[in-house]
């Protein structure tokens, strides 16, 4: 039922390897026996109808899902040779390696500068000069520097929605993570802001491994290398984006991407 294409030709390093993952909210099972690999420097897009478990899955990758009470999991998620559910692997450590950008921009009610350096600061970097360097690099990498360099000390909520979202990306980048998880990062933005973020993602994939949930088939087609199609908590198909959009193996995938679903 699950068709997966392991590329033997181009042997990329595997960052995440999800094995038989199940997840329950109380008694309701939201993820069913997932098997999934995520490779280095890939943009992996996750598509599927509303409620199929995309957010649940992406939040499991950095264990943010555990903030919700009564969540139970089984199976394993190997991140760089270690099971993230191992008690020896602290969530704090995992989350410094795996950054997250949320659907709705969520800056802190602090200055732009304080937002970007929040992560480095709470992890013990106090040197002002060092923090300033981190802020500049992160803001440059999130393509926001030119727009905010003259007002680093003004409140982040004075920025537009798109700028706020790039600030949140900068804030995640400031931790120098290996992976960036993005849950519908452009769904609250207008087309121009969306285009900017997509451009940014294309730039970031050189240095980061990116997993992005999207409701826009076009977005998945434009920016991703791999696409995963979820349906009712199951992974139906994971393959190269081109393959998914031209010759999907599963009938349900084809129905969904051609809009014949439901």
């Amino acid at each position: 039922m699950i068709s997966q294409n392991t590329n033997k030709d181009e042997a990329k390093r595997i960052i995440y390897s999800v094995n038989n993952l199940n997840l329950w909210y109380g008694k309701d099972q939201a993820l069913k026996n997932l098997n999934f690999t995520i490779e280095e420097n890939d943009v992996t897009a996750i598509i599927g109808p509303s409620g199929c478990g995309k957010s649940t899955f992406i939040k499991t990758l950095n264990r943010m899902i555990e903030i919700i009470p009564n969540v139970k999991t089984s199976g394993e998620i190997i991140y760089n040779d270690r099971n993230i559910f191992d008690s020896a692997f602290g969530v704090e450590e995992l989350r410094t390696r795996v950054g997250m950008v949320f659907q709705k921009p969520n800056p802190f009610p602090k200055s732009i500068f304080e937002n970007v350096v929040y992560g480095p600061k709470i992890h013990g970097i106090r040197n002002k000069k060092k923090l300033m360097e981190i802020a500049e690099v992160s803001l440059r990498n999130s393509a926001l520097w030119d727009e905010v360099k003259d007002r680093l000390n003004s409140n982040a909520y004075g920025l537009s929605g798109g700028q706020q979202q790039r600030l949140c990306i900068a804030r995640a980048l400031a931790m120098e993570p290996e992976v960036l998880l993005m849950d519908e990062p452009t769904s609250a933005l207008d087309p121009i802001a969306t285009a900017k973020i997509e451009e940014l993602i294309m730039e970031l994939k050189k240095d980061y491994t990116i997993v992005i949930v999207t409701h826009s088939m076009q977005q998945a087609a434009r920016i991703s290398d791999k696409t995963a199609f979820f349906l009712m908590g199951e992974l139906i198909e994971l393959d190269k984006t081109k393959t998914i959009f031209t010759t999907p193996r599963d009938k349900r995938t084809e129905d969904y991407i051609t809009g014949r679903f439901g």
Binding site: N62, M64, I67, P69, V91, E92, E93, L94, R95, T96, G99, M100, F102, K104, N106, P107, F108, P109, Y118, G119, I122, H123, N155, Y157, C168, R171, A172, M175
Partner: protein
Amino acid sequence: MSYDVMQQNKDKHFLNTEALKRRMKLRIILDKVAKGIFILSTLFSLLILGVLIYRVWNQSVGWLNLRFLKSNLSIFPEKAGIHGPILGTLWLMAIVAPVTVILGVATAIYLEEYATKGKFQSFIKTNISNLAGVPSVIFGLLGLTVFGRLLKLGSSILAGGLTMSLLVLPIVIVASQEALKAVPGFLKDASYALGATKWTTIKTVILPTALPGIMTGSILALSRAIGETAPLVVLGIPTLILRIPDGIMSDFTALPIQIYYWTLDAVLRPEYANLAAATIIVLLFMLFIMNSIAILIRNKYQKRY
């Protein structure tokens, strides 16, 4: 449905426009009546307050002056002042403010952020809310038993301060809980997603965001504490204090106590009523200042998100 029936329905109006207009007029009148009732209720309370302040102010005129604020108790009304009670009230605040804020905020943080949501937690929460409604005399009795007698603090500033702290602690806890609850989840998520621990998140995101609400609640609680009389009377706080308090173990008297006894004694000498009125003005002024500070804090530091 046949074509004919559909045609018929098309010509028929389901809503009778005349009746509709009539009912609308009625509702508009009703709206005006409601508005009038609410305005009248507000005016009524304002009127009572106005009369009260006017009468007290009238009685205090000529008595309220710098000498009154600076001199101490005396059997001669012309010489009597409230230097002692003012200091006593300030000392009381010096105990109540730190004790309630530290205990209250810590309890609220535990209940909102750490305690697992369940029966036990909601049981505690309900009981704290109930405590906020217990008559202040009861707290006075508790203070007398525990602080006055058991811990042998007598009727010192410490005993009075701790008793008052117990009285307003539930208010501070409930206000702080509300302020913490109002911190949006997406801010906490942002912090956790950067690898922050719970305590770091509380320290750097949750508390700063909730602080205006917590401070407003605390100041209002404090102003309740300095206006309360009953617990102090039960504790046996005297009014005849000739020595100025100089530490937390000193005996003391406070403004509301002074007002209480002068009002009682007004039957002996009518001038005491004037002294009580002047003291009321001083107490009201302190409360007014504190409430203004609370409002200022709320307006100035309220976070935008």
